[in-house]
């Protein structure tokens, strides 16, 4: 027996979840970007990157949780559409790597106040991974369905 996903009952659920998802990932990636730009010597130079990370980490974590939760709900409305989409797989790969990197290597380097060169390196990796998440997410709607291996 097939059960209807309650999220698919109303036409409004998907757009509302999507807006919640966009707003929350924007805050997540944006707060990380503030630290990244600081590591590259741009933007908020009055405090160290470590201090900036401490200042923004709660906002980052809360918005990341909302983004992940709303993302799972969005996924559940039509799983087939997503897991058979090459852009979605790219996005999720980038996302897992971005989160792992953020809470391990990145955090350690930034909080330890390591050398500027190392700081720039982790900033570039972080920007590339989070940027991959955004680009992968946008292109879900625009790539051909299927894994594109035909």
């Amino acid at each position: 027996m097939f059960l209807e996903n309650p999220l698919n009952v109303s036409a409004w659920t998907f757009p509302i979840l999507e807006v919640l998802h966009i707003s929350s990932f924007a805050i997540t990636i944006g707060t990380v970007a503030l630290v990244n730009f600081r590591l590259l010597g741009l933007g908020l130079r009055e405090q160290s990157a470590g201090q900036l990370t401490k200042d923004t980490s709660t906002t980052t974590l809360i918005s990341l949780s909302v983004a992940l939760f709303s993302g799972l709900l969005l996924y559940s409305t039509d799983p087939d559409k997503f897991y058979l989409n090459v852009s979605f797989l790219f996005k999720i790969t980038c996302l897992v790597l971005a989160i792992l990197f953020h809470y391990t290597v990145y955090r350690k380097v930034v909080l330890a106040g390591s050398s500027a060169a190392l700081g720039r390196l982790v900033a570039v990796i972080s920007i590339a991974l989070w940027g991959g998440v955004v680009f992968g997410g946008i292109f879900i709607e625009f790539v051909k369905p299927g894994l594109g291996f035909d």
Binding site: A26, I29, L44, T56, V134, F139
Partner: protein, 169 residues
Amino acid sequence: MFISLAIWLQNTGLFRALRESDHGYEILLALHVSAITMFAATVVMTDLRLLGWALRGHSIESVVNQLRWPKRIGFLCVATFGFLMFGMKAEEYYYNVFFRAKVVLFLLVAVHALIFRPGVYNRAAAPVGVKLAAACSLVLWLAIVCAGRGIGYIHAPVFSHHFALLIGR
């Protein structure tokens, strides 16, 4: 008047070329959203500080002043990519109710600035109205995200509008 301007705009060389490109619109959209992340962080961190929910270790003045230029540059990036997308489909956008709502919301952002800039954002001391300013700002920008996403859900019936215009004449 606006519609003839929109049609002229989308037929200029730049937008014609963008429209004929393979993935111009999608790439601009991804850049637009990437820039939104940076702009959103500056707006939200400023407003959260005004509300007293984040960055409590820093003064309001320091947060507002430090984030002012990153915010302006972020908005410039968002607006540039947004305008390029608009220009590609100016005529469709003109008829898109969410696009019209978004234009109105931007006018409200200007009104917000006129009301709160002198008393809140440009002043060191924290007068009454700080939290109201922050709350209004967050609500406005969230509404703009809603309207922005909404644009993509509507495929404007450009042809039926043209038909009506022709009959009208």
